[in-house]
């Protein structure tokens, strides 16, 4: 058999070998048989069995979610059980079966009617339509008797192939058993791509319709670096992929060739990202995006739940620093229970620290309490906190005062607490321009390059038409970084970077040369960046940075960096 290569966008520098499992959650049912060929009693019995099995599944998922995430999130499964057993649904399905439809078609027809009704009502009803769809798909899956793939129990070495993968799909995937995934649609910043990077899974997105020609059960190689998806690979190809998968992970901290230690940390969103971060050798966490603790649920996590999460992150690293960013809600991160206003330009609107000091003051206070308590836990000395989207010194002061006043409240209540190391994200041009004024008030800066590039270049993230402008190799972005680092020099203020740029091993030497003390990235690129740090000589790096800062175009920046390789 000769190998065949399809190409897409590789989203992780990892390779995997495995067997294709097609995931088609919305596959059409086959045409139903003629009504006279349908045994009504047998179909009714099948429906009753399926309903019982679906209810068992839901109860189990409810338990698992209550345990792993929380009681509040688990409540959605109660609603699913109620829809499953709703008299209007069961009557509708029974009528449809008696009218001559097989059970799965009757389920599909009955639910779809209600889904449509709810969708037409709009607003909150739209969410209920999603719940109904979930219940319908579950019943149809149970009825089709395993003909539909269950993502949570795939055989070891599966390569999941799908049109697209939604957040609820990826949440079910077990990274220990999945060798990678490949999708028809999607780009570098799609949900599936970010998920792949945080769990260190080989993945390719955006392969296009040609992917449909790959058959279930085919042996494949997923090269997440080049974006090559190889069907029926040769033995040499498989060996090469297996060798590439065997990266050299350094668990100890790393120094440049001339002995300067650079902290290489991981960005995390949820506690599920901690395992991969440790496995890939991260020294700690450079960006804990705490808003992920608040998304995809019906009410915010309480103080104790947050405290547990922060302590768990601290305990995962042997003495490694954990930088927690306070809530960054707004912009592109909707939260169902917060009733966020519709803004014309959400990225320029009320988000980040602006909400924490404004409408979300209560949420912020709860988070600050949890953080101050976590700072007094066994590994609490390693905790650092930073405020997102700061653009004025007043915001910094107000944020800091909140920490101090809440600490005083906790003292008065007799609750153990400590003030953690305190910093801000530098991601607005205002913060970069004013960095010398901010530096005396903070212990550190963390440069968020995704937003910094967007705001410096006035080029929206994720808008492909302006992606060339929003590139972090634009000279203006590099100068904003240089201005920030220079402003912190001579102050007791270290400077880190979180964002895609920090995880690009081709830029590591430049970033060391610009004077960054810490680099934080998706777990997957930690080994490559650590290797790049070890090869860097700081004197050469500084000289490189000086030349790059003189470049007048992105093309020239890229050229200097390539020649240097």
């Amino acid at each position: 058999m000769t190998e065949r290569t399809l190409s897409g966008i590789g989203v992780t520098p990892l390779s995997g070998v495995g067997t294709v499992v097609w995931y088609r959650p919305d596959a059409d049912l086959p045409e139903p048989p003629a009504p006279e060929d349908v045994d009504g009693d047998a179909e009714l019995a099948r429906f009753e069995d399926a309903r019982a099995a679906a209810e068992d599944e839901l109860e189990a998922e409810r338990e698992r979610t209550a345990e792993r995430v929380g009681e509040e999130e688990a409540a959605v499964f109660d609603a699913h059980v109620q829809f499953l057993n709703d008299p209007q649904i069961t009557d509708g399905v029974t009528d449809a079966i008696e009218g001559g439809l097989p059970a799965e078609h009757a389920v599909q027809e009955t639910f779809s009617e209600f889904v449509e009704q709810f969708e037409n009502m709009g607003g909150r009803m739209g969410e209920r339509a999603d719940d109904l769809r979930d219940v319908r798909d579950r019943l149809v899956r149970v009825l089709s008797d395993g003909e539909r793939v269950d993502l949570s129990s795939l055989p070891e070495g599966s390569v999941v192939v799908a049109e697209r993968l939604t957040p609820s799909d990826t949440a079910q995937l077990d990274p220990e058993r999945v060798a990678g995934f490949v999708t028809v649609t999607g780009g570098r910043t799609s949900h599936a791509a970010i998920f792949a990077r945080s769990l260190a899974l080989p993945a390719i997105v955006g392969v296009g319709e040609e992917l449909q020609s790959v058959e279930d059960g085919a042996e494949v190689v997923v090269d997440g670096e080049s974006g090559d998806f190889v069907v029926d690979p040769s033995d040499e190809r498989k060996e090469a992929a297996a060798a590439a998968a065997d990266v050299d992970v350094r668990h100890e901290s790393v120094e440049t060739a001339d002995g300067v230690e650079i902290e290489v940390a991981a960005n995390i969103g949820t506690l599920a990202d901690l395992g991969p971060a440790v496995d890939r050798g991260a020294d700690g966490v450079g960006l804990f995006r705490t808003e992920f603790l608040f998304l995809d649920r019906e009410s915010p996590p309480d103080e104790d739940e947050q405290y547990e999460a922060y302590v768990e992150a601290l305990e995962s690293f042997d003495g490694g620093r954990v930088v927690v960013r306070t809530l960054d809600i707004g912009g592109d991160k909707p939260v169902p229970y917060l009733d966020l206003p519709d803004e014309e330009n959400p990225f320029l609107g009320e988000r980040g620290i602006r909400r924490s000091l404004g409408p979300d003051a209560d949420l912020f206070e709860t988070q600050v309490r949890a953080l101050l308590r976590a700072a007094a836990s066994a590994d609490g000395a390693n905790l650092s906190v930073m405020l997102p989207l700061v653009s004025t010194v007043e915001e910094l002061r107000a944020g800091r005062e909140r920490f101090e006043s809440v600490a005083a409240d906790l003292d008065a209540e007799g609750v153990e607490n400590e003030l953690p190391e305190f910093g801000i994200m530098v991601e607005t041009p205002a913060a970069a321009f004013m960095a010398d004024q901010f530096a005396p008030h903070v212990d550190f800066f963390s440069i968020g390059t995704n937003d910094l590039a967007q705001y410096v270049m006035a080029a929206e993230r994720g808008n492909e038409r302006v992606s060339d402008l929003g590139d972090y190799r634009q000279p203006a972005v590099l100068r904003a970084i240089d201005a920030t680092v220079s402003a912190a020099e001579g102050e007791d203020c270290w400077v880190g970077m979180c964002g895609e740029m920090a995880g690009d091993p081709d830029l590591t030497e430049l970033l060391v040369g610009l004077g960054l003390d810490e680099l934080s990235m998706s777990a997957v690129t930690v080994p490559q960046v650590k290797a790049a740090v070890a090869e860097t000589d700081t004197a050469d790096a500084r000289e490189l940075a000086e030349r790059v800062l003189q470049a007048d175009t992105k093309a020239e920046v890229a050229e200097i960096l390539t020649l240097d390789q």
């Binding site: 009681e71 509040e72 409540a75 959605v76 109660d78 609603a79 109620q82 829809f83 709703d86 008299p87 209007q88 649904i89 209600f114 009704q117 709810f118 009502m121 607003g123 909150r124 009803m125 969410e127 209920r128 109904l132 019906e298």
Partner: protein
């Protein structure tokens, strides 16, 4: 037996409050229906679809109608849910 109650939870009769409401309605030996206070139509309180389908929001009023042995106890329990600001844990 009939009662008019104002819906206090932020979410209205959705999500968690709705879920609790339907669960509670199913626990009693009574035939319970509800509707918007300003409309004549009633729907079964034991149906999640019907209850959420009413689309009742925070601060709106609903009419609860119950018949059967447990009617009074059922109305008390349901009123309690509708008048509690946050759904109980």
């Amino acid at each position: 037996m009939e009662r008019t109650v104002t819906v206090v939870p932020e979410d209205g009769l959705h999500a968690r409050p709705a879920s609790q409401f339907v669960e509670t309605a199913n626990e009693f030996d009574a035939d319970i229906q509800l509707g918007r206070a300003d409309e004549d139509d009633l729907v079964p309180a034991a149906s999640m679809l019907a209850v959420t389908g009413l689309g009742v929001g925070h601060d709106e009023s609903v009419r609860l109608v119950a018949e059967g042995d447990d009617a009074e106890a059922a109305l008390d329990a349901l009123e309690d849910i509708l008048s509690t600001p946050e759904a109980k844990q």
